[in-house]
């Protein structure tokens, strides 16, 4: 039994600080106030799915130049890692103008990713180029001259992963932007069904100011494994339930009993939902897609359930999911390691789309990748080191695919794949092949939030640095 979230949020504000002070991290109180006054009422269902790749995926060997100056530079600058053109899967983006890589070169995906390339060429996947954590637009001159205002700890895994998930860059992210999204749309959803869910562990992305992320296993909820009953009945379980039933004498005890019953009920609901009658078997779409595929398949099931009148799982309009993969920190043995990871990622993302298409829900969900950072353009012996800007994928029926998106230094909103020239001749290269982003995480996230149908002012609230960039919405969805 949980009350109307909007009422709860209002009461939280009144009881906590009384409206005057706003100095909590990221204006959390402003967020709660906004949530209390804005009534989102959606007539449709949408789901955002963050696919976080821990370690910093090497974008330069994921989206690889096939021809043009970029190809020449690519082979020159990373001789130990450069992938041959044979085997790459060509991306048929426009050669010039809007949607092109913007550097006159053509690109293809790593040989491990035929499915994702096909999805791109079928208009259902897009690439966001040269995106990374920024406080504001930053030029090479500023960066190397020491006058740039930068996110702290630029090449640190934990910090950068946190900034991608929480935005803006800060040492102590209390909430993630996925959580802040959920805070704002909570009132448009039933109170007893998780709307902010991680299938890949606890992290900042799924922490909201008032909404706590529900952390599940990749295949289902964490359930209480009630102990084996030697008596062969459920007497122990009954005693457990009796102790958590209503009627405790103390208010805190009643609240804990309530929380326990709710935990059991939610896990039971999710188990039942995932085993709902009539749910198609999506296994075939995720063969060979690894752990990421397993998580995405569960997301597909939940999205299907939310749109197919599964008892107990109805009335949902907005959900946020978080799935994760690891192992992308390829300082060494990159060719083999990344090759294997990208096989699974390609199958998982394309399987996600195909599964939803099979049940006519492809346009209801947008999946987007994110990672701590890209990697250095230059290589070490057999791997690459921490970089900064990266390229990411957006996948879904609503995506305007087969295009490259992003911003550029001029802030005019047309994608610009970075130069791959050697560092001293490279206007994008901050040094050692660590690319300075031309698109910010804020702009990337804002575009997704806009698709989610948040108001412009609420998007500014959850992404406070967005105003530092000229182009708010990149147009990929």
């Amino acid at each position: 039994m949980r009350p109307d979230r909007r009422k709860f949020i209002r009461e939280t504000i009144c009881a906590a600080l009384g409206g005057a002070s706003v100095y909590s991290a990221f204006g959390g109180m402003k967020l709660l106030q906004a949530a209390a006054r804005h009534d989102y009422g959606f007539t449709n269902y949408k789901a955002l799915v963050c696919v976080f790749l821990y370690g910093g995926n090497d974008s330069f060997n994921t989206i690889v130049p096939i021809s043009g100056a970029a190809r020449t530079n690519y082979q020159l600058v990373r001789p130990n890692l450069a992938l041959p053109t044979a085997g790459l899967h060509a991306l048929n983006a426009p050669a010039s103008g809007a949607g092109s890589p913007g550097d006159g070169s053509s690109y293809g995906l790593h040989a491990s990713m035929p499915e994702l390339a096909a999805l791109f060429n079928a208009n259902h996947a897009a690439i966001v180029a040269n995106v990374g954590s920024l406080v504001r637009p930053t030029t090479k001159t500023e960066y190397q001259g020491g006058s740039a205002v930068l996110p702290p700890q630029l090449f640190s895994h934990a910090d950068q992963a946190a900034y991608w998930q929480s935005s803006p860059p800060s040492n102590a992210p209390v909430t993630g932007w996925g959580g802040r999204l959920a805070d704002l749309v909570a009132s448009a959803n039933p109170p007893d069904i998780p709307i902010l869910t991680s299938l890949g562990g606890q992290d900042a992305f799924v922490r909201g100011e008032s909404v706590a992320g529900y952390v599940m296993n990749s295949y289902g909820p964490n359930v209480i494994d009630f102990p084996y009953e030697l008596s062969g009945d459920d007497a122990l379980r009954s005693a457990f339930d009796a102790l958590h039933a209503q009627g405790q004498a103390n208010a805190l005890e009643r609240t804990f009993g309530n929380a326990m019953r709710h935990s059991v009920a939610t896990a039971t609901l999710l188990q039942a939902t995932l085993g709902a009658a009539g749910m198609p078997n999506f296994d075939g779409y995720f063969a060979g897609a690894g752990e990421i595929g397993e998580q995405l398949e569960t997301v597909v099931k939940l999205i299907w359930a939310a749109n197919n009148n599964v008892p107990g799982y109805t009335g949902l309009s907005r959900q946020v999911f978080f799935v994760t993969g690891g192992g992308y920190d390829t300082h060494s043995d990159q060719l083999a390691t990344q090759g294997g990871l990208l096989v699974e990622l390609s199958k998982a993302l394309s399987g996600f789309h195909a599964a939803l298409t099979s049940v006519s829900l492809a346009d209801r969900a947008t999946a987007f990748t994110a990672s701590d950072f890209g990697r250095s353009l230059s290589n070490n012996e057999d791997g690459s080191d921490h970089g900064w800007a990266s390229h990411q994928f957006v996948v879904g029926g609503a995506v305007a695919g087969k295009k490259f998106y992003g911003d550029n230094l001029a802030g005019t909103g047309s994608a610009q794949m970075p130069s791959l020239a050697p560092s001293d001749q490279n206007p994008n290269d901050g040094g050692y092949g660590q690319m300075i982003p031309t698109t910010s995480v804020e702009q990337y996230s804002a575009t997704l939030a806009k698709w989610f149908e948040l108001s412009d002012s609420d998007i500014d609230l959850i992404l406070p640095n967005l105003g530092n960039f000229n182009t708010r919405y990149l147009g990929f969805v």
């Binding site: 039994m1 949980r2 009350p3 009461e11 009881a15 906590a16 600080l17 009384g18 005057a20 002070s21 100095y23 909590s24 991290a25 006058s147 205002v149 700890q153 640190s156 934990a158 910090d159 040492n171 102590a172 992210p173 209390v174 998780p194 606890q202 922490r207 706590a212 992320g213 529900y214 952390v215 599940m216 296993n217 909820p221 964490n222 359930v223 209480i224 494994d225 102990p227 007497a235 009954s238 005693a239 457990f240 958590h244 405790q248 004498a249 103390n250 208010a251 805190l252 005890e253 009643r254 609240t255 804990f256 009993g257 309530n258 929380a259 326990m260 709710h262 935990s263 939610t266 896990a267």
Partner: protein, 642 residues
């Protein structure tokens, strides 16, 4: 005529019986614990009068009551017990880590730091010298509470690389747990761990040409979280309200900016000595980690230590400095809170810390949180004021926090406030429930091997007091794989700790304006994992188990069989009931407060267990012990310490 004292006792009894009877029908089992039938007018410090009272006190003052502790406290009384605790030798994490590095020649990692924490929290023999018994429970409990206010976390990537950084920091809290809060604030401020966590280290005066502005992180958090809080408070911790009924902010953005400018110029003690040329490139001693173990020092003299080095401290005299910095303003603030130009980094820091510490909010702000960590989430304003008054009366005393701890624990509201309110108490946080279980059930580390791997030594054979193990001591933060308790020491997500003091659980508590900070951590998924963890401890991880030959690090296990005699004396069943076990568990775990309803529910189940229940156990009575522990530790009545 009865002596007045006895009249009061009878009146008290009558009141309590009325209270007890009003909430339950004669036929239904009461969910209310039996009223504490003792005299509350002799003074809270006289006692404990019963084992239950002793257990309640120890639940507040230690990491969980044990039968032995209860007996000892009964024997000596509250004040003598407190005096013993104030005199007990300190358990320091660095001592343990130094032993691991210098004697065992192991590579020190964060798992060792957690071992050190559990050694302090569980107490008992020291692994390096079994004759030394760790017994400073109250000091450790206060330090743990302080670590949840003055938060530093190994979720910070740099701190995660250097376990000694956090151990050194924690030892500051331990060493000053009974000391002076102003002193503590200064030592915390100058610790490299805090300097790293909240960015004061390396913070420098403004230089607009390079777009450098002093970082505001520490300035903000030292005010918001470590001292005065966001809104002006009355002496009893309740917010002051302006004419319109709104709370009054304690400070403005300008105040924070001023503090940020003060907190400049501090860095590692060995910048310029450790191979780095200057302030901005100074880094940790990667090989030795040594500079994590020394307070930060100021770099505020031009040409010090080398020619050409500037001063990095904003003291108001530089072209881009902030002049006459306005810090906190309040009646009695020195110089109205205005920091004059021309000081040094050290003198300016003293002024700033004095300015913060002198604010009238500090007493009630800290007093209330310490009460929340030890006793109850929603103390009465009067209780907060009594403790804040002690804090303030001891402002310059080196024993300030000792007096505060005593005031918290011996206050009537701590000793018997639960009798008069059903909104009293606090949800036990996962680490405290775990330490309680382990302490009370004679936990030891077992199994584990001595082995060398990759040139590194590991010594985990026959180490009953090295509290190690993946599933238990080390894996306590694991909440992903279906078990774990989602809380580890010094492992909070952010500087806001695992939960905020102001958290309102939805539902009845929000409706009544009751905070329940620990509820913020008990999300739906965490609760499920915690129940599974309790199952593991209740049924498995027993010291009698045969060790797996390949078990490298072992685990922490308990002695379930210690309660065999309580669990039955014949063949079980209703003829050989489990009353003694249930009552013992009520006393040991629940301070004697198990309600008749819960007692009846437990007995109805446990009395079905008889001597035919031999599957998987060496003694049928273990089934009663396992299931009783499982039901008790998951129950709302246990989970709420009251």
């Amino acid at each position: 005529m009865l002596p007045a004292r006895n009249v009061r006792r009878l009146l008290c009894l009558a009141v309590m019986l009325v209270c007890a009877a009003s909430g339950a029908s004669a036929l239904a089992q009461s969910h209310r614990p039996d009223a504490m039938l003792h005299d509350g007018f002799d003074g809270a410090a006289a006692g404990p009068a019963t084992d239950a009272d002793a257990s309640r006190f120890l639940a507040q003052a230690t990491f969980g009551p044990t039968d032995a502790d209860i007996a000892h406290l009964r024997a000596v009384g509250y004040q003598a017990w407190l005096n013993e605790q104030f005199a007990a030798p300190q358990s320091l994490e660095m001592t343990y880590l130094d032993w691991v590095a210098d004697t065992l020649h192991e590579q020190v990692g964060h798992q060792n730091r957690r071992e050190a924490w559990f050694l302090g929290a569980l107490g008992g023999p020291d692994p390096a010298n079994n004759a030394l018994i760790h017994s400073d429970q109250l000091r450790q409990r206060i330090a743990f509470a302080l670590s949840e206010i003055l938060v530093v976390s190994d979720q910070n990537a740099q701190l995660a690389e250097f376990p000694t950084s956090i151990a050194y920091y924690y030892d500051i809290l331990v060493a000053n747990a009974f000391g002076n809060y102003r002193t503590l604030l200064e030592k915390v401020t100058l610790s490299p761990a805090m300097g790293t966590y909240l960015n004061m280290r390396g913070n420098q005066r403004a230089d607009p040409s390079r777009n450098i502005h002093p970082d505001e992180n520490y300035a903000r958090e030292i005010n918001q979280l470590f001292s005065v809080g966001l809104v002006m408070l009355k002496a009893d911790g309740t917010p002051q309200l302006d004419g319109g009924g709104h709370p009054i902010p304690t400070y403005s953005q300008a105040t924070i900016s001023a503090f940020a400018h003060v907190f400049t110029g501090w860095n590692w003690y060995d910048c310029d000595d450790n191979g780095f040329d200057n302030f901005t490139d100074c880094g940790p001693d990667y090989t030795t980690g040594e500079n994590w173990l020394h307070p930060m020092v100021p770099y505020d003299q031009p040409n010090q230590p080398n020619n050409g080095d500037p001063s990095y401290h904003d003291n108001g005299t530089g072209p881009n400095d902030l002049h006459s910095k306005q810090l906190l303003a309040y009646p009695g603030a020195q110089a109205g809170g205005v920091l004059a130009d021309g000081g040094s980094a050290a003198s300016d820091l003293q002024f700033a810390l004095d300015n913060i510490y002198g604010h009238p909010n500090v007493g009630p702000f800290i007093a209330k949180q310490l009460i929340q960590r030890l006793v109850t989430s929603n103390p009465s304003p009067a209780y907060v004021k009594r403790v804040a008054d002690v804090f303030n009366a001891n402002r310059t005393s080196p024993n300030q926090l000792r007096a505060v701890a005593q005031a918290i624990l011996l206050d009537p509201e701590a000793r018997y406030g639960q009798v008069y309110s059903d909104k009293y108490g606090k949800l036990r946080e996962p680490l405290l429930a775990l330490t309680h279980f382990w302490r009370a059930m004679d936990a030891r580390h077992t199994c584990g091997r001595d082995f060398t791997q990759g040139g590194l030594q590991n010594h985990y054979a026959n180490q009953p007091y090295r509290y190690a193990g993946y599933v238990t001591g080390w894996g306590t933060d694991d909440d992903q794989y279906g078990s774990g308790i989602a809380q580890a020491p010094m492992n909070a997500f952010s500087v806001f700790n695992f939960f905020k003091p102001s958290y309102l659980p939805p539902g009845e508590m929000t409706a009544n304006g009751l905070v329940g900070p620990e509820f913020q951590l008990q999300t739906e998924s965490v609760i499920a994992n915690t129940v599974n963890s309790v199952e593991g401890r209740a049924f498995y991880f027993d010291v009698a188990q045969v060790c797996d030959a390949g078990d490298d690090f072992g685990e922490v296990k308990v002695n379930h069989a210690k309660d065999l005699a309580l669990a039955g004396s014949g063949n079980g069943g209703a003829a050989d009931p489990a009353d003694r076990l249930v009552d013992a568990y009520s006393k040991r775990f629940m301070s004697g407060q198990m309600s008749p309803f819960m007692r009846q529910t437990l007995l109805a189940y446990l009395n079905r267990i008889d001597s035919s229940w031999t599957e998987g156990v060496t003694d049928w009575r273990l089934w009663r012990i396992h299931t009783a522990l499982y039901l008790v530790f998951n129950s709302p009545e246990y989970m709420v310490q009251k």
